[in-house]
């Protein structure tokens, strides 16, 4: 039971951190619970589908389906997070101010919420599919221990949810103005870290072999499989043996976010809106 609890908690932990951050970021946005909740629900359902077809998925692309799938959904999350940051650079002050109940802000807010709901859904999907596969395997095997393992798994889910709550509560204690500044940096690092993880999956799939030399090994100082290492892995993309390509991608995402925020970050009224597409 304890082993099951630890395994499930380890998988859910990452999703819990991401959901906590997203909840804090969208604190002032109306209807955010509906969107974030929807993201979690769709993520859970999709995780079940992915788990059911895990074998078939793995066999795609010469056995590299799993890696490429992970790389693809991480890329989606990176794009959505970057989009959110750029969006916030433009509309953040409207939401932070008294205008938050204004009709326009609500409509605009929904667009950023969609992006964040996708990020939440993707995080739940990725971690959830492994949990489903593990718990399903346990239950399918039958026997006396199945229920105790399922119970352990459930405990792991609850602990993961607790991480989500703690992250949220920790972040919302920051004053409103500082919260935006903090979460902008946090989301940029989160996106860069996910891009580096996607790079790792592409390297695993042998789709990306350029610049695959390990730049440093800080495993002796902080292993990325330790508890703190795992948390930092999710939050800022820490890895104890990054490849040159991972570093390049990481820095590129930060640079792209910074440049786009500068370009589109000017107040909405100062720039004509391009046609909707």
């Amino acid at each position: 039971m304890l082993a099951a609890l630890i395994i499930v908690f380890r998988e859910v932990f990452e999703a819990g951190l991401i959901i906590g951050i997203v909840l804090a970021v969208t604190r002032t946005v109306p209807h955010r619970n509906r969107w974030i909740g929807g993201g979690v629900l769709v993520g859970v359902l999709a995780a079940c589908v992915v788990a059911a077809f895990a074998g078939a998925l793995s066999n795609l692309f010469a056995g590299m389906g799993q890696e490429l799938f992970n790389a693809a959904i991480l890329t989606v999350a990176v794009v959505m997070l970057t989009w959110h940051n750029v969006w916030m650079a433009r509309h953040g002050s409207e939401l932070a101010g008294e205008l938050r109940s204004a009709g326009q802000a609500v409509v605009e807010g929904a667009k950023s919420l969609l992006a964040l709901a996708v990020v939440v859904g993707v995080a739940v999907l990725r971690e959830g599919s492994e949990v489903v596969l593990f718990l399903y395997g346990v239950l399918a095997a039958g026997g006396d221990s199945a229920w105790s393992v399922a119970l352990g798994g459930f405990g792991g889910l609850l602990l993961g949810a607790l991480i989500c709550v703690l992250t949220y509560v920790g972040l919302i204690r920051i004053p409103m103005r500082a919260l935006f500044a903090t979460t902008t940096v946090l989301i940029a690092l989160l996106a860069a870290g996910m891009a580096a993880q996607a790079t790792h999956f592409l390297e695993q799939a042998n789709w990306l072999t350029a610049m695959d030399t390990i730049v440093w090994d800080s495993g002796w100082l902080l292993s990325d499989s330790s508890f703190l290492g795992r948390a930092l892995h999710t939050l800022i993309g820490y890895t104890d043996q990054p490849t040159a390509m991972q570093l390049v991608v990481y820095l590129a995402i930060l640079l792209v976010t910074f440049v786009l925020m500068r370009i589109y970050g000017s107040p909405a009224k100062a720039m004509p809106e391009p046609a909707h597409g």
């Binding site: 395994i7 989009w83 969006w87 596969l133 399903y136 390509m245």
Partner: protein, 118 residues
């Protein structure tokens, strides 16, 4: 909206990146060592596999159990879920000589093995 404009820009940058990377990657392809490994009754067979140093390794893993397992190695930086009764391919980059342990994350205590690089 500006967002769609931004997305297309991002896509363009990404496409540029992928194009330049794939151009580079074809130049450095190496032949890999192939190793067969099976997993049955929560045990790896053989429990110890070996490979020459400085060449990439491809592990072909057969999960003969009905339950899913997760092949994991902290030192090799590999994590891969293998569904019950199915095969998986695991790519391992060229390694320095040494002993690299791996295990099934779902049965960490019993299901252990090692890749010895010479």
């Amino acid at each position: 909206m500006f967002a769609s404009l931004m997305l297309s820009k991002t896509a363009f940058i990404a496409a540029l990146g992928i194009a330049s990377v794939s151009a580079m990657s074809t130049a450095v392809a190496q032949t890999a060592t192939e190793i067969q490994l099976s997993y049955k009754d929560k045990k790896f067979e053989p429990a110890e596999i070996s490979a020459p140093a400085n060449t990439p390794v491809v592990i072909k893993l057969k999960n003969l159990d009905a339950k899913a397992m997760e092949f994991e190695s902290k030192t090799l930086k590999v994590e891969k879920v293998v569904a019950g009764g199915s095969d998986a391919i695991i790519n391992v980059r060229a390694q320095k000589p040494g002993r690299y342990e791996f295990f099934d994350e779902y049965n960490e205590k019993t299901a252990r093995g090692a890749l010895v690089v010479k």
